[in-house]
């Protein structure tokens, strides 16, 4: 089994290095997607399927597509020759960057210190794991990660959703450049017509699965966003008016979280607590709202839609 880990680690470093050294930013973003998928496999090897789900959907899928969109925008103008910045190669610069040795040495020193530090740390074998396992029956949520996210450390998640909302407000404040409409592709349209509903179903399934095993609002929201983006790339008329990315939908998750946190918390005697017996429906309600808001947020972060 260690051979698998070793090969995965080598492949991961290889992909990270080549993504950073790639000649064009487009190539770099393509390799970054592969890096994210490989990292998801590494999470699986480390026993963290929840993280693997989030990484595959958000880290590889949405982040990669985001970088790819910007890269194609930047490089298309360059190839189109509309820039007056003097003669240039089709790609930014042969190597992308030139080494400056002082900085390289500084970074090497930082990494060396980091490695020495983490090697010196005695791994905390299961202290938190035991604490979670001990309190799990009391939380009435079967899956430990979901219990941590929505019960034990619910304030963390609440603030995280608030950060997402702030980010999307900031992104929408900077207007996106207009996007060109995509031509119709019959093969893609047919495949997407089957895949998109399936992806929506998978999102619901992950949401439901989160209460008993890996899954939950974040992963489900990311798959939802992936489905909407896929529909957009295939010029399918899913959400043609961009209703999904309007403010009420974006704020729904945070609003319901706060509301339930206060009302149910008052009944339970602690803010963000849940009265016993009501935990499962309340958590599921919060997660459903979070899924919709997170999906909408990721789509909104991606930028304005333009239908053909």
């Amino acid at each position: 089994m260690n051979a698998i880990d070793l090969l995965l680690a080598l492949a991961l470093l290889l992909l990270a290095g080549s993504a950073l050294l790639a000649r064009s930013v487009q190539t770099a973003s393509v390799l970054f997607i592969a890096f994210g998928l490989l990292l998801a496999l590494v999470w699986v090897r480390l026993g963290a399927p929840d993280v693997a789900l989030a990484e595959a959907a958000i880290g590889a899928g949405v982040a990669g597509a985001l970088l790819m969109l910007a890269a194609s925008e930047f490089e298309s103008r360059r190839i189109g020759g509309s820039r007056a910045a003097g003669p240039r190669l089709p790609w930014p610069r042969p190597q992308g960057w030139r080494p400056r040795w002082a900085l390289v040495l500084l970074a090497l020193a930082c990494a060396a210190v980091l490695l020495l530090a983490v090697l010196a740390i005695e791994p905390l074998a299961g202290a938190a794991t035991e604490a979670v396992a001990r309190n799990l029956p009391q939380s009435e949520i079967a899956h430990p990660v979901t219990a941590v996210l929505l019960s034990f450390r619910a304030y963390d998640t609440l603030l995280e959703i608030a950060v997402l909302l702030v980010a999307v407000v900031a992104v929408q404040a900077a207007p996106a450049p207009p996007q060109r409409a995509l031509a119709h592709d019959p093969v893609l349209a047919r495949v997407a017509a089957i895949t998109v509903p399936l992806a929506l179903l998978v999102a619901l399934y992950l949401l439901w699965a989160g209460s008993s095993r890996s899954g939950g609002a974040f992963q489900a929201g990311a798959v939802l966003a992936g489905a909407v983006l896929l529909a957009r790339f295939a010029s399918l008329p899913l959400d043609p008016q961009s209703r999904l990315t309007r403010p009420p939908v974006l704020a729904l998750g945070l609003a319901l979280f706060i509301l339930i946190g206060l009302v149910a918390g008052a009944l339970a005697g602690a803010a963000l607590g849940y009265p016993s017996g009501w935990v499962k429906p309340l958590v599921l309600a919060i997660e459903a709202a979070l899924m919709v808001s997170i999906g909408a947020t990721l789509v909104a972060l991606f930028g304005g839609s333009k239908t053909a």
């Binding site: 900085l103 090497l108 983490v118 450049p177």
Partner: protein, 106 residues
Amino acid sequence: MSGVSIWLPTGSALVLFGLLGMLLASSILRKLLAFNVMGSGIFLLLLALRPPGPDGVADPVAQALIITGIVIAIAATALGVRLARRYHQLSGQTELPEDRAATRDD
């Protein structure tokens, strides 16, 4: 134990790659990409320092922290990408002025 310790050097190396990328790359998008690679390295260290229990499942607190981290990273990346696109739209540049100056001096 030995299975986990492979990931400590791997995570540190990813942090190094990300750091180098953020310091040396001139294009904004490359810097964002490097930022994400560096973040992945940190997450890897976080989880590698909490070895999985007897059932093979990793520490749920560390998992929850990393999931939160991934979501925050995408929010920051998206904001950076949008600002870069806006900057490109207004100035036609894909690099910040100080990076352009630095690479021109070399």
